[in-house]
């Protein structure tokens, strides 16, 4: 323990030598998808689409960026009954992907860590050569897109098609990224999950049962001031 403490102190000393500049950090509490079922439950629709390339990225100034492209629906595998932008074969839609803003690569002290487990530009680069892809989509009707009559969808997962009725996930946060699954698995899990309306659009209903704020001994509880 003492050795580790000494080593740690030395590293801290080394790290602090001559470096008083400000550093910028960012932390994301992001989804980590393990299964096609999780992806399906978190989406409005699963489609096969002809993706028209990947567009330029637009940052939000705080570490995230969005890239969008046009897509034409080749086949609708499944969609929720309350999907606010109901999809049909042949529809042309805008598809956006949220990713780490590459412009922050030089500013963020933890950019590499973030890019390692969330979608990065390099993930999208793998998709660019494949025009026909499987998309897990969430409708974003509130976002206005120019020159598009239907509206915007956010892709929470992109997979490329392989021979032998299989797909490989290429732009997904979580362990399912870079894995290959049967198309039949995608269809089964999506149709099951999309039987129900989206839980995030359901009415609030009864207030959520929340445990009381625990007492903190002799310390003062949280209270409004001013």
């Amino acid at each position: 323990m003492v050795v580790f403490a000494v080593l740690g102190s030395m590293l801290l000393l080394l790290g602090s030598c001559g470096n008083s500049d400000e550093t910028v950090g960012l932390d994301l509490a992001r989804a980590s998808f393990r299964t096609t079922g999780q992806l399906a439950r978190s989406s409005d629709a699963v489609v096969i689409a002809d993706l028209k390339g990947i567009g330029p990225t637009e940052g939000d100034g705080a570490g995230l960026a969005m890239t969008s492209s046009q897509a034409v629906i080749v086949e609708v595998i499944s969609q929720r009954p309350d999907n606010p932008i109901f999809l049909s074969e042949g529809d042309r839609i805008s598809v956006a992907v949220v990713l780490i803003d590459p412009k922050f690569a030089d500013k963020l002290v933890n950019y590499d860590e973030l890019a390692a487990d969330f979608i990065g530009v390099r993930d999208l680069a793998k998709v660019q050569g494949n025009t026909e892809v499987v998309l897990y989509l969430v409708a974003r009707p509130e976002v206005q897109v120019q020159n598009n009559r239907i509206g915007l969808f956010e892709a929470i997962a992109i997979a490329t098609t392989e021979e032998g009725e299989q797909i490989t996930f290429d732009a997904v946060p979580g362990p399912i990224d870079d894995t290959t699954v049967d198309v039949s698995t995608v269809v089964d899990t999506a149709t099951t999950a999309h039987d129900e309306p989206a839980p995030w659009r359901e009415d609030e209903g009864e207030p959520v049962e929340i445990e009381p704020i625990p007492a903190s001994g002799s310390r003062p509880p949280l209270a409004e001031d001013e």
């Binding site: 323990m1 550093t23 960012l26 994301l28 959520v208 929340i210 903190s216 949280l222 409004e224 001031d225």
Partner: protein, 206 residues
């Protein structure tokens, strides 16, 4: 192996024995603290903590979510029960504010975001914790939302991510995937390692 490196049999035996001894010793050593620090200047201003750590909530925006605010307060209470200084709720933008809590459209896969700037020995501005207003993955799980808040409050103490696997000693909600950790371990507050790290960071001096 370097060609010119000659080790006689006795020395080799001594080296092997030392390696075995080190391995056995390491196996029986108590698990060391696993928490890590963001960096030297990533913590509250120790000169300004006597009034508590002020949480300011942006309640005026269209994306404000009262339930998520409650989760942040519960997360703060969990920290308060385990260590000092305590979090308190202050008016958004007040001089006592130390952490800004707000809401933003971050996309379906992001439950929250914390952005911060580290100075020479403390934050140069209040860290900002934004709840993801249109996340779909976190829906219907109060525990996940609270875990996100506990995790982000831990960052505001100056803690970085904890890579200890599983739910045993040394593990905590400061894991990079706090939601996954909550799903695995069902912790309702910061763990012993989280608290040790936050206390140590906070008492670190300038």
């Amino acid at each position: 192996m370097v060609a010119g490196c000659v080790v006689d049999r006795t020395t080799r035996r001594l080296l092997v024995a030392a390696l075995v001894l080190l391995s056995v010793t390491a196996a029986y050593l108590p698990v060391s603290d696993a928490w890590t620090s963001i960096g030297t200047g990533c913590r509250y201003d120790p000169k300004n903590d006597d009034d508590g750590l002020g949480l300011g909530f942006n309640t005026g925006g269209s994306l404000y979510d009262a339930d998520e605010r409650l989760k942040v307060e519960h997360a703060a209470s969990s920290w308060n029960a385990a260590m000092v200084p305590n979090f308190t709720v202050v008016t958004w933008g007040s001089s006592k504010q130390d952490l800004k809590v707000t809401w933003a459209n971050l996309g379906a896969s992001i439950g929250g975001r914390l952005s911060y700037t580290c100075g020479s020995n403390h934050w140069t501005q209040d860290p900002t914790f934004s709840f993801g207003a249109n996340a779909t993955y976190y829906v219907a799980s109060a525990g996940r939302r609270k875990a996100i808040a506990i995790h982000e409050l831990g960052h505001s103490y100056g803690l970085h991510h904890n890579s200890t696997a599983g739910c045993g000693a040394g593990a905590g909600l400061m894991a990079s995937n706090a939601v996954g950790k909550y799903d695995l371990c069902l912790w309702s507050g910061p763990t012993a390692d989280d608290v040790t790290g936050a206390t140590t960071r906070h008492n670190a001096g300038s």
